[in-house]
Symmetry: C2
Subunit: 361 residues, 2 copies
């Protein structure tokens, strides 16, 4: 019986999403290298093997170590390489096929000086997100980096790695598909420009919204979506999935009710959900409330939403009809806004069959 905040995982929904993405990649003849930062779980990772996944993406050296210990032999750390961790990178590279990401000559120099094992190396390429990476249209900087990489013994240049995170700042599916299209054009133009000196450049492309919505992966050698394995209400609000595709829900106990303001207090706060929010009809929402029946939830009915989170409290807003049906001691289902951050906080899953799954801690 569920008695406290618990992260539920519906394996069937997760497997369906993995299969859909794996099939899409296969049909498009691109490598499927899913990002494991979303689930961070050895057991969930193993589910991907059913779809012939052998190559994965992670977002930190620590996560690479964890998945290498759990049998993964081909890992890309899709985060600007931290030169201070060269020793762990070097050790990992002695055991598995490890790829890293660089974006400056300083990082290249520091790593080349210290590494004794070959490491596949991508240049982080920015096609408009503006978070980090070398601007895809800044050919001069790109040439300088690639020239530098050519002299390296242990940094083996592979190609360009892009995360088009600006797909998250969109208002329509068309906008998302357009961002992928624009990214593709920039990456292919860059590849063409460099083709004389580097004829074998690979393009690695990521982000769940565009990989979910587009079927055209032309020009890409691999895709690296991560969130799609769970999805969440942010993805649903972008149009990448429907609410019924979301494979995780928090189960949270009702501890207080405030009829005069239509608010329900749950045990379920920022230490369970984190604090990402979406805006729906002008209101900030930090989670979507759905009915819970044992370990299963029903997305056909939305009961309300989380309006505020403090450390342990969640404040749910609910219309009168639903409010009156909820009792103190009920467990409510909550679809998270950002499943990656929620999973990272919960440090484990209970499947809808009642199985406990572990995570990297």
């Amino acid at each position: 019986m569920l008695t406290q905040p618990t992260l539920l995982l519906d394996k069937a929904k997760c497997m369906a999403s993995i299969e859909r993405m794996a099939t899409k990649a296969k049909n498009a003849n691109v490598l499927f290298r899913p990002h494991f930062k979303t689930h961070q779980s050895a057991e969930v990772g193993n589910w991907f093997r059913d779809f012939s996944v052998e190559c994965i993406t992670v977002s930190s050296v620590k996560m690479a170590v964890y998945f290498a210990q759990n049998g993964w032999k081909d890992i890309t750390i899709a985060f600007p390489a931290n030169i201070l961790e060269w020793s762990t990178i070097n050790e990992l590279a002695s055991k598995i096929n490890l790829n890293i990401v660089v974006e400056s000559t300083d990082t290249i120099h520091a790593l080349e000086q210290n590494l004794t094992n070959p490491v596949g190396t991508y240049v982080k390429t920015d096609t408009g997100y503006g978070r980090t990476g070398v601007n895809a249209e800044d050919y001069e900087s790109m040439q300088a980096l690639l020239k530098e990489l050519k002299t390296c013994r242990n940094l083996i240049f592979i190609g360009f790695l892009c995360h088009a995170g600006h797909t998250y700042n969109t208002d329509s599916k068309d906008e998302i598909i357009n961002i992928m299209e624009s990214s593709r054009q920039q990456l292919l133009a860059l590849k063409t420009f460099m083709a004389n000196d580097f004829p074998l450049i690979q393009i690695s492309y990521g982000d769940t919204p565009s990989c979910s919505l587009s079927h055209n992966f032309e020009g890409f050698d691999e895709i690296r979506p991560g969130n799609f394995a769970f999805y969440d209400t942010m993805q649903a609000s972008l149009g990448s999935c429907s609410l019924s595709d979301i494979a995780v829900a928090m189960a949270c106990p009702v501890v207080a009710k405030h009829p005069e303001r239509g608010e329900i207090i749950i045990h379920g706060g920022a230490v369970h959900f984190s604090k990402d929010q979406i805006t729906i009809e002008g209101r900030a929402q930090l989670g979507t409330v759905v009915p819970l029946n044992g370990y299963n939830w029903d997305t056909s009915k939305q009961l309300g939403y989380i309006a505020k989170l403090s450390q342990e409290h969640g404040i749910i807003k609910m219309g009168k009809e639903n409010f009156d049906k909820v009792k103190i001691g009920d467990m409510l289902g909550i679809l998270p806004v950002h499943s990656c951050l929620t999973a990272n906080l919960m440090k484990g899953y209970t499947t809808t069959e009642g199985e406990l799954l572990s995570m990297l801690i």
Copy 2:
């Protein structure tokens, strides 16, 4: 040597803050029952024993179990009791002096029906924060609850428990002190109103901003501040502390620099800091950057601020002079906006002396 995101803890600063609050409580003749949700660490908890602390506050049953296992014999769970956890509450109450918080007859009935051990019981009282609890001026509801509690065998009524969290939504120290004053008046009026039937009512009062700024705890029987042991930039912005009082800082490695936009990328994201923010001079800030020298940081100089956080990336804005001095591979110190949420994510501390301290996981 620090190589990855690490939560540093300055024991001397922490001890100074504990001593200050303990002395204040002693001088005011109120019990000091610190909230341990901020640090969630057995070792840090033991530091409080130097100041004769024997009674503590936590925010979940899980946390109560952890600190009971670590030798604490008098614990208040300052969160609306979750009736689904009655069995663990009952077991804890057989071993230690346990206090809980109720705010509805439904909760009182369910617990009274199941508990076989006596549990100290506070009524959660809302003096204007509006999160949860019974309105302090709603005498009718209060009377109904107290009447109910009087019939209980195992719920032993102690008094009113109040967290004046609206001190966090203020613009001046005076406003914070006024909120405490108004809360005090409401709580004392309520106590007077109930005095005939309940002559021994105790008042438990919490929140770091007002406990830090006021010296007048008249009428309170105990205070329950928690965040003060670490403080953070939110508290500094409220005026509860100065930046030099903050006892924790994240050490984060610099992985990329973007001179054209004055941005530095660190490994340090939402999975390290959580996402609370403060607004300074019209700009959202998710952390304050200070120089780091080994395991120690210097708050006399502010180098910049975190402008954005994604899962693993932190984006720092920095003026040109400081920007030019920072190198890839440097470790920067970051004062967190909300130390409780940061500590909860990091699951452990490294003291400025290099000692590793564990936390509840």
